[in-house]
């Protein structure tokens, strides 16, 4: 079931409230509905107000969920925010993995993985801002989360290398690749141009491939297909 988080329309999440009273629905389902609304809400409120000024009450209001239910699901606003973050990154990784850890020549799959990534970030500017920029404002939890996700991204780059993968001279070429993607996406989001990210595909393909295969081959792969 698609989560409201990835919905482009900023519709009223309270519309998704399950009927009150004795509906006989299993508790698990009710909790899931609340959780989904809270995660969607925390993304919106963080982007609108900033993490610092956001209160749990803001999230509750946006989600249409009661305070008690919130604390049954999350410890605090940080816990809720990190859960939303994880949900989104899991989703992104799944989409990239699908096209990248697959058959076909490596440079081609890099291009497809980048295309999936750029499309994902372009689909919802709020989600893009939330995942790339707002996380850095949460304090010490930012470092551990960043580090874990960066490591995950590097593992993913590695997972798709396959037999025809390059053997770059630089030990941290995979980290450079993740860094190139982050740098480009970060800049577009800051400029308020997340929607135009897909148009960067040729440039980013080139920039990502150069440390692995050199300029000529990278140019060919970026222009081709």
């Amino acid at each position: 079931m698609p989560l409201p988080v990835t919905d482009n329309q900023p519709e009223d999440l309270r519309k998704w409230r399950l009927p009150r009273g004795r509906h006989g629905l299993p508790r698990e389902l009710v909790e899931r509905s609340q959780r989904e609304r809270l995660l969607a809400a925390v993304v919106r409120v963080t982007v609108a107000k900033g993490y610092d000024s956001m209160t749990v009450a803001d999230i509750l209001g946006e989600a249409g969920v009661g305070r008690e239910s919130f604390y049954e699901l999350f410890d605090d606003k940080l816990d809720c925010m990190l859960a939303a973050h994880k949900l989104l990154i899991d989703d992104l990784e799944e989409r990239v993995r699908e096209v990248y850890v697959a058959e076909g020549p490596w440079p081609q799959r890099v291009r497809e993985a980048l295309s999936a990534t750029l499309d994902w970030f372009a689909a919802d500017p709020d989600v893009a801002r939330f995942t790339v920029i707002e996380l850095s404002t949460v304090g010490p939890a930012f470092r551990s989360t960043f580090q874990a996700e960066f490591a995950r991204a590097i593992t993913l780059v590695e997972a798709g290398m396959g037999e025809d993968g390059p053997e770059p001279e630089l030990a941290q070429a995979n980290a450079l690749a993740v860094g190139a993607i982050l740098a480009r996406i970060y800049e577009q989001i800051v400029l308020g141009r997340a929607g135009e990210l897909p148009s960067l595909l040729p440039d980013l393909t080139y920039e990502l491939l150069v440390p692995f295969v050199g300029e000529d081959e990278a140019r060919a792969a970026a222009d081709g297909a």
Binding site: V138, R143, S144, Q147, A183, Y186, V210
Partner: protein, 217 residues
């Protein structure tokens, strides 16, 4: 000039206060990030009163901006001192990059401030120091009178370097920043020098111990 001419500037007390505040901001960011840093943290680290803090800065953010400015200034000086003007641009870029990395390793708080916290506080901060870095790099090539050709986008290289350093800090390996030397040198050379030259410089950097060629003795 007469030996009776006073030489101690009257604002020295004030300057060292300001300096202490900036250092306190940098150290606190290193320990708990900017977001978690409070004015109380800064005044207790700097051994000054709250009133003194507000005499120098309007708020936490103004102090942070000054700390960033101070950090960039330091890196610019280090980078400029690391090479002589006659040097070939790729060599100069390598030496400047190595010197900057060495400075950041000695001052992990500064590295944290310029990578993680700069992103957290406001993207404009990143923009401002990128504007200080990239023209300096480009200047190495234009001063040498060589035609400037961008092989890769220097803005991306800048972001990559930032991400790599941030990751090293987030992983708790701030003291091992020099391990990134081959990559940082590659990133400094590749935008204007090209991939092959960047790899060549990166190899040289691996052989020469960090700071080995720098006139630090």
């Amino acid at each position: 000039m007469s030996v009776l001419q006073p030489t101690i500037p009257v604002d020295i007390g004030e300057r060292s206060q300001r300096q202490r505040i900036l250092d306190a901001m940098i150290d606190s960011c290193a320990e708990k990030t900017y977001a978690a840093t409070t004015i109380t943290d800064i005044v207790s680290r700097a051994h000054i009163s709250r009133t003194t803090f507000y005499k120098h800065f309007d708020d936490k953010r103004a102090c942070f901006d000054a700390a960033i400015g101070y950090g960039i200034e330091q890196l610019e000086e280090v980078a400029a001192a690391a090479h002589s003007p006659e040097e070939a641009p790729p060599n100069a870029a390598r030496e400047a990059a190595a010197a900057v990395l060495q400075t950041l390793a000695a001052r992990p708080g500064l590295a944290q401030l310029l990578t993680g916290d700069a992103i957290a506080v406001e993207p404009k901060v990143v923009e401002c120091y990128r504007k200080a870095t990239i023209p300096a790099l480009e200047g190495l090539w234009s001063r040498a009178g060589e035609p400037i050709k961008a092989h890769t986008d220097p803005r991306v290289a800048f972001g990559q370097a930032q991400v790599l350093i941030l990751n090293q800090i987030a992983t708790g390996k701030a003291d091992r920043l020099p391990e990134l030397l081959p990559e940082i040198v590659y990133l400094a050379v590749s935008p204007y020098g090209g991939h092959e030259e960047a790899l060549r410089q990166s190899r040289i950097a691996k052989e020469v111990p960090v700071g080995g060629a720098a006139p630090s003795d």
